[in-house]
Symmetry: C2
Subunit: 191 residues, 2 copies
């Protein structure tokens, strides 16, 4: 299971199999059921998750009680509320499984210890967050630049894996659209 | 000048003054005039900037010719198009000075060399991007959750330094609002 993390790390930073044996001991393997909540809004955010197989989403609930997804994580992605995790504070987001998911989890304290023992992992995480940050600015560009219809079709064309796996109402939420609107433009395209 | 970067790095990762002497030799000091363009949309993104004093913004121009700002950088912030920088590809964004700015710049090749020579800087950059990524998800939350009026007043209350330094039309652009709308709600608040 953790071989997958080993392969992923080695794409960005060289780690020996011997070191990885020790590295993997910092992580817990977890099997999560669809809809299971990993971290709830209002609680301390003390965990970081690496998805092996499955899908998580990070969402908040607005004043009207509507859930809005701001991020997904599928196979080989990391997920936590990074600001709350770094600052060891309460989070305003909930992290929940979108489908049955297998993941590796690590606590903040253990991750700090891990990075102290294997500083070469800093490079791996630096590149992960640099990509995530760069991607979030691209998403901002699409949100500002595209019509609602363009946003939806751009997303489903460029990220077909998401479009197939993630329920339509969550994709709508992630793109700032209503599920009704998405049904409408999909019907229009089919006709 | 580069003492400011030394202090900033040392908040997150321990660097000796001797090491920093060598580290600072990787950077170029630049004085940029207001409105000067550092990287232009369509060109290769080969530079990363650390703002010492001043303000940069990263924007794109949409089909209608309207400039939309997606990120600002003031004193002690880093700025580049991280996806284009990491992949060494052309960028769709322009980076321009909002006011007269003093900065340190580094090329991608030099930064890679720097990180090889001083791997302890990986920790510093990892935390920088983790904060930036976490913050961008918070911005997404505000964009989805708040009314246009709330977005504007939340931003000006929480980031007064920006509100004072950055022209209103750029703040409007950054928040996905029109300058006319911002004038309107400011007048309403004053009355």
């Amino acid at each position: 299971m953790s071989e997958q993390l080993f392969t992923h790390i080695n794409k960005f930073s060289a780690i020996s199999p011997e070191d990885f044996n020790r590295i993997s001991s910092f992580f817990e393997f977890e099997k999560i059921s669809k809809k299971q909540v990993l971290i709830e809004a209002g609680s301390f955010c003390n965990q970081n998750f690496f998805v092996l197989k499955g899908c998580l989403h990070l969402y908040f609930t607005n004043e009207k009680g509507v859930e809005r997804t701001v991020q997904f994580a599928i196979d080989n992605w990391w997920m936590t509320d990074n600001l709350a995790y770094l600052g060891q504070t309460k989070t305003g987001f909930t992290i929940q499984a979108v489908e049955d998911t297998q993941l590796l989890s690590i606590s903040f304290e253990k991750q700090e210890q891990l990075l102290k023992e294997f500083p070469q992992l800093e490079r791996y995480f630096r590149i992960m967050y640099q990509i995530a940050y760069g991607s979030s600015l691209m998403k901002m560009k699409y949100l500002y630049d595209f019509s609602k219809e363009e946003i939806y079709f751009h997303f489903t064309e460029h990220f077909p894996e998401f479009a197939q796996r993630v329920p339509q109402y969550l994709i709508a939420s992630f793109l700032g659209l209503t599920p009704e609107y998405v049904s409408e433009i999909r019907a229009k395209k089919r006709s």
